[in-house]
Subunit: 214 residues, 2 copies
């Protein structure tokens, strides 16, 4: 619904790039990622089927740009959650906020989320995309680094894997509609996510052995 078609009679669209990205999101929501078609995107934007080429190159380019936009929003969502924290929030609270930001992004942008990790649809060599992805990843790593500055590399990896995997898996299962009625009603999903992040944070906390540093 959000895609802005070209004004009747005008030759230039004016914001075709944006309109095409919106069309991608729209189609993913309506009929799934598989149904996204260059021609259908063009149709919704009110332009001919090859109008996308100058902007994105080919279909892969369109998807990659869409995924890059997703990464940017993901980073912003996590950083917003961190910024909303009270000033003196500790490391555990920051980790939890990062996780909530991740989940909030996936919930608010299901189309982006479903597409951005389908690596077979993306041009992994695209520089803009790589930069955005690394930006998102850096936020995750920072959230973990601040938590356990003295942990060993291997333990650090395990905790990062657990945190990222749990949050990512939750969003994936939810976005793909797996999990059935486990988290279908929205209210229940939010509550489950909240509880899950709490459990998760306690699991990532420094184990009793290592002093509760920084």
């Amino acid at each position: 619904m959000s895609v802005t078609p070209k004004a009747e009679g005008r030759h230039h669209h004016g914001a075709l790039r944006r309109a095409l990205l919106d069309a991608v999101a729209e189609i993913v929501l309506e009929r799934g990622p598989e149904a996204v078609t260059l021609r259908e995107c063009a149709r919704r934007a009110g332009v001919s089927h090859s109008a996308a080429a100058p902007h994105f190159g080919d279909k892969r380019g369109l998807f990659t740009a869409f995924a890059a936009e997703g990464s940017r929003r993901l980073t912003a969502s996590m950083e917003a959650a961190l910024a909303a924290l009270p000033p003196g929030a500790d490391a555990l609270a920051r980790l939890a906020a990062t996780g909530r930001g991740y989940i909030a992004f996936a919930r608010a942008n299901p189309a982006h989320f479903r597409l951005m990790f389908r690596t077979d649809l993306l041009d992994r060599t695209d520089q803009a995309w790589r930069a955005e992805m690394q930006g998102s990843f850096a936020v995750l790593e920072r959230a973990m680094a601040v938590l356990a500055p003295r942990a060993g590399a291997r333990d650090m990896r395990a905790r990062l894997a657990l945190a990222w995997s749990a949050v990512h898996g939750f969003c994936t299962l939810r976005a793909e509609g797996a999990g059935g009625d486990l988290w279908n009603p929205d209210a229940r999903a939010a509550e489950t996510a909240e509880d899950m992040v709490a459990l998760l944070v306690s699991a990532c906390a420094p184990s009793p052995g290592e002093a509760g540093s920084a």
Copy 2:
């Protein structure tokens, strides 16, 4: 490489169903899920382009059958990990084994794993597929149920969500090649998975408050 082409001259293939499913796996491994084509599968099986129809109906039918096979293998992998446990293994060990079985499946069958959760490619009304999925889910639920028989429904949901999400997310990120060098070398991936499951199990264990019941 595993797909068996039709014998020269023969009209009947004899095992076309299996050959087509093998072709799907082969193509997913080589070029990703997006590259799977009915015609390409038929080509590899050495039959004509529409030979799949009697067996699977349409493309969606082929994918759904492939996903159902994946679910069956997933269930088997988890049950095998449980069966390999020493006789007196406790609830936590059973939970960890289920998780390891899940991860082992995804590692041994990356093509199945990547396809079976892409709900937009599947016929969700297919009865055989639904039955297999529920079978897999039942194993997960059983692993959690045995762990915290007295926990509240909400807490139970959170733990199931955490366990399933973490393991699933780990497999997804790994299968899609996200996570970069976090778990790329195989040895490191195995070790990370092992550590992660250990962390995860401790997070799902009954909290100190509730007695460590049977």
